[in-house]
């Protein structure tokens, strides 16, 4: 066993892992090794558990924010236990997200929450399906309830009116209901509580969404299901109502460690306070990196006030070896500018005065030298950069940089997924190697597309063109992948494949190709004379598989997808992805109470079109690790916790990073809603009357939402800046509607201008 004085740990980190008992808050700057320290602390505590405690299932409980954080923490703790401490790698601790933890608690005693032992959990998309169904149905007959919120100009233009009523408003209604239900659950508000609001029907939107919420809960009950948010409520309920169960869990988890505590929500804090019994609870986080607060109850204030509690030991990790000095200075400058000079005074409290300091000489993780560090902000006053131009600039910069820096890592970080997908197209056109950390990865999309093609045919089996597509785009792709891996593969017979594809499309009667009647041969049906024996064998094989899939088409969608995937995909990652796609489609079917193949096809299409969220399967194994020579394209949110040698930040404009100024445009304020109201914020504000006695004043929530959003985006910019180790390049663009000019064009974000001035030496702080 190694010494407890681990030479890899800095002094403040040593202090943390030697903390004996009680509550502790660790406030850490980016790159200061908070997760690394937390992993050591967890391993240290596991090492202290006696053999008997281990046998009785006592564990150190670690709670973190995302699944990928779970996997990366687990990897670290396993490594320390196995290699540094010679202990069993998987025993004595449990790492969970909040939902995972709630799931464990409820699973242990489901009956206490009124659940059967086989209750199932609706994933996000299944839950969205139900809300979408219910809202669409209600909207058709009650769309008049939205009228009071429409801008006056909407009715005057029939084309615009039609567009709003048929497309934009129904989508907004769905989004409102989704957020509303989540919000109510965050505040433990039941439909019954909402029905008790005096004059509920006077608030037309609140009334509408409350009814959807009520019907949604009934639908869940009918299915014996709970959604993610219910899980947390149920967990809290059973712990608050059953003292002896709580006591058992407190005994099972004598230490509670919480990572990313700046993103902790009201419910998470309540739950962990109960479980830790307010004793051994360590919360690690950085309030300056809180980037998940909009329309959630997550807020860095919980961590801040915890740190101020009298019996909490506060440790600050300032020193960070990640970035070169100019980059760290730029991040610190953002904090100072916001605190001292932000034109919106209410935003000056966005950050905590907690600055990044370089590590002392001799540190195991030294900062990159000033010589190898570079910061560039691509901004010239009065010179606009269009969205396309920004992407071109990045592509040409990368084409120059990559060959010169084959051993370095690079990332392009974007505020939203959509811009990332556009960038991917540009990188692809320029043959720049890349991988993505966006909502849905290329792997998922490709698999979903292949399955969609096959299921589309199975839903309409007499369509030859559809069968031909299965051959060309599903079957042959698989065959090509296999042939590629064979050492003595011959050049694939492209013209022969085209011939077959055309012949199947021409084939008038599919049945005579797949199941020829007595006396006829399928080759005659296709009327192909010269086909290589290899391709002929392959075509015969394709026929047999098509027959098999057709015969299996009656199976539930998940089973059908698994069967097809097994025939088409060889490697375990693809199969695992197919498995998850299959389950996701099945869950959506159950939620929508539809077993039709057409529905499954629609769901696959939605996955292909990036409307569904899938975790990268490979990250589940190892956690994402950037590779030299391959450009990572990621959202700024997804980049948290990662670092690259060179980082480009895109779209740092007034749309993605507004400053709560009157002329800013906000994603939450729809053009067709009157008075610039953020209808979502207003709706959620209306529920507040249940929590605190005050009168609802229209417009106030919209103002607050602007401030909250602007503050969160400032923190997001801070997170994005601190991803860079050596080189940081910041760009902006005029946005999606920039070509229209005027109020539609985005401007450079105010912090971008300020940071540019700071670099140029025209701005300084006290």
């Amino acid at each position: 066993m190694t010494s407890l004085l681990n030479p890899l740990l800095r002094q403040a980190q040593q202090e943390i892992i030697h903390h004996k008992t009680g509550k502790m808050a660790v406030i850490a700057t980016p790159g200061s090794g908070k997760t690394f320290t937390l992993a050591h602390l967890a391993a240290q505590l596991v090492g202290k558990l006696s053999a008997k405690e281990i046998l009785n299932g006592t564990e150190i409980l670690v709670v973190t924010f995302s699944n990928s954080a779970v996997y990366s923490l687990r990897k670290r703790i396993r490594h320390i236990l196995q290699h540094d401490r010679d202990l069993l790698p998987d025993v004595g601790y449990r790492i969970r997200t909040l939902h995972g933890l709630a799931h464990d608690i409820v699973r242990d005693r489901p009956a206490l929450a009124g659940l059967g032992d086989d209750f199932h959990i609706l994933d996000e998309q299944a839950s969205r399906h139900i809300i979408r169904d219910l809202t669409q149905a209600a909207f058709r007959s009650r769309r008049g309830e939205f009228d009071p919120y429409l801008a006056t100009g909407v009715r005057e233009n029939p084309k615009r009116f039609h567009n709003v009523y048929e497309r934009q408003l129904p989508e907004l209604a769905i989004q409102l209901c989704e957020r509303f239900i989540k919000h109510c659950k965050d505040y433990s508000l039941t439909p019954g509580d909402l029905y008790a609001v005096p004059d509920l029907s006077r608030h037309s939107l609140l009334h509408f969404t409350t009814q959807i919420y009520d019907e949604y809960q009934r639908r869940l009950k009918f299915q014996g299901a709970v959604d993610f948010d219910d899980l947390i409520l149920h967990a809290l309920f059973v712990l608050e109502q059953n003292a002896d169960f709580l006591k058992r869990l407190q005994k099972r988890w004598p230490y509670v460690l919480e990572d990313e505590a700046q993103d902790s929500s009201l419910l998470q804090e309540r739950l962990l306070r109960l479980l830790s019994n307010d004793r051994n609870w360590t919360r690690v986080g950085d309030p300056n990196q809180a980037i998940n607060t909009t329309f959630t109850t997550a807020h860095p204030r919980y961590l801040r006030s915890f740190a101020r509690e009298s019996n909490v030991a506060l440790v600050r990790l300032h020193q960070s070896g990640r970035s070169g000095r100019p980059i760290a200075d730029l991040a610190n400058a953002l904090i100072k500018w916001t605190a001292q000079m932000h034109p919106t005074v209410d935003l000056r409290h966005t950050f905590e005065d907690h600055f990044i300091q370089p590590v002392p000489p001799g540190d195991p993780q030294p900062n990159p030298s000033i010589g190898e560090t570079m910061v560039h902000i691509h901004y010239q006053p009065e010179k606009d950069v269009s969205s396309d131009e920004e992407l071109r600039l990045v592509a040409s910069s990368l084409m120059r940089w990559l060959p010169e820096n084959p051993d370095k890592t690079a990332a392009v970080l974007v505020p939203e997924n959509r811009h990332g997908y556009r960038l991917l197209d540009v990188l692809k056109r320029h043959n720049i190697p890349n991988e993505e950390l966006l909502q849905t990865t290329a792997g998922v999309r490709l698999i979903a597309q292949t399955l969609e093609i096959v299921l589309t045919y199975l839903a309409e089996p007499i369509n030859p063109a559809s069968l031909s597509r299965v051959y060309a785009e599903a079957w042959r792709k698989r065959a090509a992948a296999i042939e590629q891996n064979q050492p003595d593969n011959e050049q694939s017979d492209e013209s022969g494949i085209k011939t077959v594809e055309a012949a199947i499309t021409r084939c008038k009667y599919v049945e005579s190709f797949l199941w020829p009647a007595d006396g006829t041969s399928w080759t005659d049906v296709l009327n192909i004379t010269s086909l290589s024996p290899v391709l002929l064998r392959d075509l015969q094989n394709f026929r047999l598989h098509a027959q098999r899939w057709l015969r299996a088409a009656y199976l539930p969608a998940d089973q059908l997808i698994l069967l097809i995937a097994h025939d088409l995909f060889g490697n375990p990652t693809d199969l695992a992805l197919s498995y998850r796609i299959a389950l996701s489609v099945r869950a959506a079917q159950q939620a929508a109470a539809s077993n039709s193949l057409g529905f499954a096809v629609g769901e696959l299409k939605a996955i292909r079109e990036n409307q569904r969220r899938f975790l990268r399967t490979e990250d589940v194994i190892e956690g994402y690790a950037p590779r030299p020579g391959v450009v990572t394209v990621a959202t700024m949110h997804a980049a948290k916790g990662l670092e690259w040698d060179r980082v480009y930040l895109l779209s740092v404009n007034s749309y993605s990073f507004p400053s709560a100024r009157p002329d800013d445009v906000y994603i939450g304020e729809k053009w067709f809603v009157r008075d610039g109201l953020n209808i979502e914020a207003e709706l959620l504000e209306q529920t507040s009357v249940l929590r605190q006695p005050f009168d609802y004043i229209e417009g106030r929530a919209t103002q607050q939402a602007r401030l909250d959003y602007a503050a969160e985006r400032l923190r997001l910019l801070y997170v994005a800046i601190t991803r860079a180790r050596k080189e940081l390049i910041i760009l902006w663009n005029t946005g999606h509607y920039g070509h229209q000019g005027g109020p539609f064009a985005a401007r450079p974000a105010l912090p971008l201008i300020a940071l540019c001035e700071y670099i140029n030496g025209t701005l300084s702080f006290t």
Binding site: L55, G100, D104, R109, G114, D117, L555, P556, Q559, L563
Partner: protein, 682 residues
């Protein structure tokens, strides 16, 4: 093989699974029959409901000209006796005079009736805090009724216990028992006897009737009660009663058993029978396990007893019989296990029936994934799922679609894809593409039409024989559809099956595997009709509609399939254990799943609280829950290990099918076990 010790009037024999108890009892009975002249028909063998009767049926030797012993479960003995003594029973029960014969309700039918009684209460909001679908609420009420019956508790006592055990849900349990009372009164009045009423009437009424006592005394000399730990207290009462009347009694108790606790088994109460036996024998070790497996059992036993870590045994000098299959993803785990099984069967010549794949739950997806992997390597495999709904059988699905065409209103008629599937399943040789084409031609506005207007090219495409068989089926429907309104559902379905589905040209004629589901479906329709038909109402269409809906809801299941086959067993642990199966190799799938450690409680019932020995008025605390779970885990692990002769493959995947990290207690125990076997592996 061990033999039974000599005993006076009664013997209580206890020992772990695999110690040879049942074989010893059979040997003893054979000797008594052969050498002491005991008449086999005067032997009563009482077994819990499962496959446990098979060794007795197969291995008791019957001398020529003699009858078989009676090998029964408590409920089947109750049904025989109730039928025989019904006129006497009727005199002491509140049964309508018009009821001539009792009707024994299957669990499906009991579910059907209890749902009717529960429905009005669901509207009142009393069950709002229970997050279960309506039918599950009803089934849990039925569970409470059955558990109370098995423990011999009055319904009011059950209510009292549930209220105190669960704390603040007085209204809910009061309602549960109100529903139970109304349901039971209704059933009794009409002579509809569900499981609870059957066993209650036997033990609480029949045993007191002189004629029955005399009949019993005249009929039996010998009683063998096997696996009494899998029976409820009421069964133990019955055994105790029998002991007064027979000359010899042998009671077998499986140590660490109790796998039917969920269904009301009460091992602790069973153990009390030891005190009323004249003799007692304890057998310590499973006799048939390999040395490697014995070592594993020993470690597991010590670990699960909470023995201090330094006293735990380690395996030395033996090759471990416990193997870990560890993967990241779920499909990989299935692939790895299938590959190991393929190796065992094809390379090591292990017979498929000597292998079992055991999972906490047997979902359709898992079953399908496994089955298709086995199919591809030519290994026969058979899944065993308790109560697999009949609607999952393709031929039943097809018949139901045809029935829906006859009885449903226009908006509820099947979709074209469903009709296409039904045609493809029913008509022999009809491929899916031609089925889609045929559907396009004959399915118009929710109705099937004839082929009179078929053009020649389409007829050629469909082939002459398909067209002919479709016409045959269509003519049958045209001629007989109206009979749905005038004949009972089972009659109509059975006629359709015999005159169409089983005829040449149709699937049931050539594919014999279709016959069992069809027969089961007809039998289910018959039971449903018998129970539901009140002798006055002749609205058969409505009865058919109810039956079809019940089937579609998955509430119609065949009787358990008890036939052992030459195939790999795929099933849940519970099924494996209650059937008391033995194999050479077990594959435990997904050991991280929480489902391995069963939860005791349900929102509306509680098998432990409704056990006879549970102190009425006590709370069901978390400590009790934890202790019960621990006992369950112990009995599960030891139960499986003692029923495996050569080796266990424990398969884990980091990420479950639904994307969760796996952390169940079974993984944890197995890791400890593995650590203790690995330490000493050279």
């Amino acid at each position: 093989m061990p033999t039974l010790p000599a005993f006076q009037r009664s013997l209580f024999l206890e020992g772990p699974a695999g110690s040879g108890k049942t074989r010893a009892v059979i040997q003893h009975l054979n000797r008594a029959i052969q050498k002491q002249g005991i008449a086999p028909e005067r032997v009563l063998v009482l077994v819990p409901p499962s496959q446990l009767n098979i060794p007795y049926q197969q291995d008791i030797s019957i001398p020529p000209g003699r009858k078989n012993p009676l090998i029964v479960t408590l409920s089947s003995f109750a049904r025989r006796s109730i039928r025989r003594f019904w006129p006497l029973l009727k005199q002491v029960l509140p049964v309508d005079a018009a009821v001539q014969e009792p009707v024994f309700l299957t669990s499906d039918l009991a579910g059907y009736y209890i749902t009717r009684f529960a429905r009005p209460y669901l509207e009142t909001g009393v069950f709002d805090g229970v997050h279960l679908p309506a039918y599950r609420i009803a089934l849990q009420i039925l569970d409470s009724i059955n558990n109370a019956a098995l423990a011999g508790l009055a319904l009011d006592e059950a209510e009292n216990r549930l209220i105190h055990a669960k704390g603040e849900q007085r209204d809910i349990y009061h309602t549960v028992i109100r529903i139970a009372h109304s349901y039971q009164n209704f059933c009794l009045k009409r002579g509809l006897l569900d499981y609870a009423l059957q066993i209650r009437l036997l033990v609480e009424n029949l045993l007191d009737i002189n004629e029955f006592q005399e009949h019993f005394e005249r009929s039996y000399d010998y009683l063998a009660a096997d696996n009494v730990e899998e029976m409820g207290a009421l069964a133990h009462d019955f055994i105790f009663w029998c002991m007064e009347y027979v000359h010899k009694t042998i009671i077998i108790y499986d140590t660490d058993g109790g796998f039917r606790t969920f269904l009301g088994a009460d091992p602790a109460h069973a153990y009390l029978l030891a005190d009323v036996c004249s003799d007692r024998a304890i057998w310590e070790k499973p006799a048939s396990l390999s040395a490697g497996m014995l070592g594993i059992v020993e470690i597991a036993d010590a670990l699960l007893r909470d023995s201090p870590a330094d006293t735990l045994p380690v395996i030395s000098g033996r090759s471990p019989a416990l193997h870990f299959v560890s993967t990241t993803f779920y499909p990989q785990m299935i692939d790895c296990c299938a590959a190991e099984i393929t190796k065992l069967v094809h390379q090591k010549n292990v017979a498929p029936k000597r292998i079992a794949v055991i999972a906490p739950y047997l979902s359709d997806s898992l079953l399908f994934a496994l089955q298709s992997r086995f199919d591809s390597v030519g290994i026969p495999a058979k899944s065993y799922r308790p109560s697999r709904p009949l609607i999952l059988e393709p031929i039943v699905q097809a018949v139901v679609i045809f029935l829906r065409l006859c009885i449903e209103e226009a908006e509820a008629r099947p979709q074209p894809a469903e009709v296409s599937f039904a045609l493809q399943t029913a008509v022999e040789g009809l491929d899916p593409v031609r089925a889609a084409l045929l559907t396009q031609v004959v399915y118009r506005n929710g109705e099937l039409v004839g082929l009179e207007k078929l053009t020649e090219p389409v007829q050629t495409r469909l082939t002459e024989s398909i067209c002919q068989h479709y016409e045959q089926m269509f003519s049958w429907f045209t001629a007989h559809q109206a009979e749905i309104a005038s004949s009972p559902p089972d009659g109509f379905i059975s006629r359709f099956a015999e005159e169409v589905i089983l005829q040449p040209g149709f699937a049931g004629c050539s594919d014999v595997s279709f016959r069992a589901p069809i027969n089961n479906f007809v039998a289910a329709a018959r039971s449903f009709t018998e129970a539901v038909y009140n002798g006055e109402d002749d609205n058969w269409t409505e009865i058919m509609r109810s039956f079809v809906r019940l089937t579609l809801d998955g509430l119609v299941s065949p009787d358990a399939d008890l036939e052992p086959v030459e195939a790999v067993f795929i099933g849940p642990a519970h099924t494996y254990l209650t059937r008391d199966l033995r194999v050479d190799y077990q594959f435990w799938l997904d050991i991280g799943d929480d489902g391995w450690t069963e939860r005791i409680e349900q929102p509306l019932t509680h098998p432990y609280v409704l056990r006879r020995g549970f102190p009425g008025g006590d709370m069901w605390t978390d400590d009790l829950e934890t202790a019960a779970q621990k006992t369950r885990l112990r009995s599960l692990i030891l139960g499986l290990l003692r029923r495996c002769h050569k080796g266990v493959f424990a398969a884990a995947c980091d990420i479950s099918a639904s994307g969760y990290e796996q952390r169940g207690r079974l993984t944890f125990v197995l890791q400890q076990m593995f650590d203790r076997t690995r330490t000493s592996t050279p």
